[in-house]
Amino acid sequence: MKQENQKKKNKYLSWLDERYNLSGLLEFAKKKSVPKFRETIWYYFGGVALLLFVVQVISGILLLMYYKGTEDLAYESVKFISTKVSFGWLIRSVHSWSANLMVLSVFIHMFSVYFLKGFRKPRELTWYTGFGLLAMSMAFGFSGYLLPWNELAFFATKVGTDIVGQVPLIGEPILKLLRGGDDVTGATLSRFFGFHVAIFPGIFVILLTLHLLMIQRQGIAEPEEYQKLPDNEKKTIPFFPNFAMRELLIWLIVINVLAILAVFFPWELGTKANPFSSAPVGIRPEWYFLFMFQVFKFLPGEILFLPGEMVGVLLFGIGIALWAIVPVWDKKTAKGNKNTLLTYVGIFVIIFIIVFTILGYILD
């Protein structure tokens, strides 16, 4: 009986192989392995982010069936989804929660790659595409936040785009481009909707494809300490099926967590945005922008001869740019030396983000 089943399986495989030449791929998969050491856990977060992106795409497409991206109907359509559409409440809640978990996973993935120095030669381009994916995830979050057209999102978008307007020289044109005018209006909503469902997914898929292709082509990065080990001490996990099964295990746990969050903490809709009302108390952006928002709150009106916010934008801009091009300026790691300063910078950035995010919630 068992032999018969095996025969059937081989029959199907050879049918597919005959048409699609799968044997090469299978050979490649069999050879693929992942370094096994005490930090292996961090390797899973890229996969978790990928899973959550897939959840985003599926739930987003389902939401698109009812969502209407106009000033008059956006809020009502989201309310309709949450109250009238079968399982609409679940889809919306899953979409919102998975968006946040995805940004969190991408952040963890980025910091793990940073601390394990996964960005060094020859994986510079993987780092750049990864950084682009983080930026796109945050852009997804920023544009999606406005779509329910509720009061909090409306004013948070107003404040957020105001900050963009502080970028020297190009700030004002970018502000108008984002808002579709001088103020946040229905035109901004239409624009954000377009960005969120068409432009950003297109860019994201291109970056993601490149990112994954590079990983497959170059294999998973080995950390410095692991690399220095003699070959007989290097432990690996076969990618198929061991690592894939472990990844699947984590995915299932993530799905469980996502379901619990969506059911027990459904995403609130709040009240409809009224552009003529005064800004409500407690406006704040999504948590991943909160540290920047809080820093801007602390900045004085003027620093030297420049507006405080402009200085903030410049400093953040420089800091993010330096972070993005770390493979360029980190010469020490590239030469195979240990760069402890880089580790300290990373720790400082994490503490900075955590402290200012907490302050953003406490000092609200």
Partner: protein, 487 residues
């Protein structure tokens, strides 16, 4: 003995004052001379209160009243001013009437704040031809023949004042200069009123213009300082109508004000400041005030409670009330002490008002209709509170039931409309009206219940899916361990 001394002292004082007065009058050369000249004004002045008080012509016109030489008496050096101008003539009056010391010296105890009151009143606004105030002292009190206000010959005596006020206020030609929208039929209406009838018969007790509007302090009706401003009217009317001594003469009860202030109308007007709530004049009329007759009560109440009146007039009660000469609205709601209508007023158990006429007989139509109306109202109210609880419960569970919660407002509206429909005393009509409420509330109740069910469905669904995924995780883990052991 003590009283005797008192009387003697009073007589001495009176004689002293009177003899001084006679001497003063004898020395008034202006008066003497003008009287000799057959001057009509001097003849009038003979009975003027001021002349009787020993005030010479020079008191107002200036000059020297002791000189019989016309050139001296009427010289500018002696302060002669001639006929005071239209715009300033009130100054002559207030020289004394606004000076408490002078008035005291002249032996008068009348108030000296008339000018202050007049200055702030509507009448002291500039006249349309800019000749001075619209009305000043002389306009009402006249000149040279001014009498004590208690003197029936006074122009402002209660039985004369109506004509006096009417001399301006009944003239459309004159009033259009100031307020073309102001009616000019007040006197005509007043004459049709109980007050007007008594006044015409010479009864000074009857309320006239000044009794309600005041005298020197008159303000426009819409000015909250006016005595006849909506919130002030009840107390103005009660000045007389709560006076047991005065009202006893006319056999009129004096509890109207006491009742009114406790009524739904009185509380709305006086405590809540709701100016749309009726005051005395809204039911009784103002200038033409009369108690509304039995047959016109529903019309009077119907000026505000329009629907109730219309429904009542089509109802079987209309005919029955007319036959028995029952006051319509008043029979159930009372008059001055109208209490907020409660649902307990309907039904066949006290305090329902239906039992006042209908016998408690289960086979009688009145009993059936009243009883069923009461049951339906109570049922809807009960259902409203139950559904509210269900919706609150769903809301607390985080379910969105805002539409259903909002629809409860319509139920309360239906309840109000049903209470109005009671006045048709038609069970079918009432059932049709209140039925709308039951339709809405049943839908809201189902929505609330569905939301609660949905809440538990989500929890159960989550539980099942979590168990399934966890089983899958465990299975996968076991499989993984096997695979890893093998490799």
């Amino acid at each position: 003995m003590k009283n005797k001394i008192k009387n003697i002292l009073f007589a001495v004082l009176f004689l002293t004052f009177y003899s001084n007065l006679l001497i003063a009058q004898a020395d008034d050369q202006c008066f003497k001379c003008h009287l000799d000249m057959d001057d009509a004004k001097a003849s009038l002045y003979k009975t003027d209160i001021h002349h009787l008080k020993g005030i010479s012509c020079s008191g107002c016109h200036g000059g020297d009243a002791t000189s019989d030489d016309m050139d001296v008496a009427m010289s500018k050096e002696k302060g002669f001013i001639g006929v005071p101008s239209r715009s300033d003539r009130y100054q002559v009056c207030i020289n004394c009437h606004a000076d408490a010391d002078k008035m005291k010296r002249l032996g008068s105890n009348i108030p000296t704040n008339q000018y202050e009151k007049l200055k702030a009143s509507i009448h002291f606004q500039p006249s349309f031809d800019n000749q001075g105030p619209m009305a000043d002292c002389i306009t009402c009190h006249s000149v040279h023949d001014i009498k004590n206000v208690k003197d029936p010959l006074s122009k402002v005596y209660p039985t004369k004042i109506v004509e006096l006020c009417g001399s301006c206020h009944s003239s459309a030609e004159f009033m259009k200069h100031y307020n073309p929208a102001l009616p000019v039929d007040q006197v005509a209406k007043y004459k049709t009123s109980v007050h007007g009838n008594l006044n015409e018969k010479g009864n000074p007790d009857a309320a006239e213009c000044a009794s309600c509007h005041g005298s020197h302090e008159i303000q426009p009706v819409k000015d909250s300082r006016s005595l006849v401003y909506a919130t002030n009217i009840p107390s103005v009317c009660s000045n007389c109508h709560s006076d047991t001594k005065l009202m006893a003469k006319y056999k009129i009860p004096t509890d109207q004000y006491k009742n009114y202030v406790q009524s739904v109308h009185g509380i709305a007007l006086l405590e809540k400041g709701d100016l749309s709530s009726p005051s005395c004049n809204d039911c009784h009329g103002n200038h033409g005030a009369v108690p509304p007759g039995v047959e016109s009560i529903s019309k009077v109440c119907g000026t505000c409670h329009v629907l109730n009146m219309e429904l009542f007039e089509q109802s079987p009660h209309k005919k029955a009330f007319d036959e028995h000469n029952y006051p319509e609205c008043e029979s159930c709601h009372g008059n001055h002490l109208v209490k907020p209508a409660t649902d307990d007023m309907v039904g066949m158990q006290k305090p329902a008002v239906c039992v006042q006429c209908h016998s408690v007989d289960k086979n009688k139509k009145g009993f059936i209709v009243a009883g069923e109306m009461k049951i339906l109202i109570d049922s809807l109210k009960n259902k409203d509170s139950v559904t509210t609880r269900i919706l609150n419960d769903a809301n607390q569970k985080g379910m969105d039931v805002s539409d259903a919660t909002f629809s409860l407002k319509d139920v309360r509206q239906v309840l109000i409309q049903s209470r109005t429909t009671i006045h048709a005393f038609n069970l079918d009509k009432f059932k049709e009206q209140i039925g709308e409420g039951f339709t809405i509330i049943n839908k809201a109740e189902i929505t609330g219940q569905d939301a609660i069910d949905e809440f538990y469905f989500r929890r159960i669904g989550l539980g099942i899916s979590t168990i399934l995924v966890t089983l899958l995780v465990i299975g996968l883990y076991i499989k993984l361990k096997k695979v890893e052991k093998k490799s």
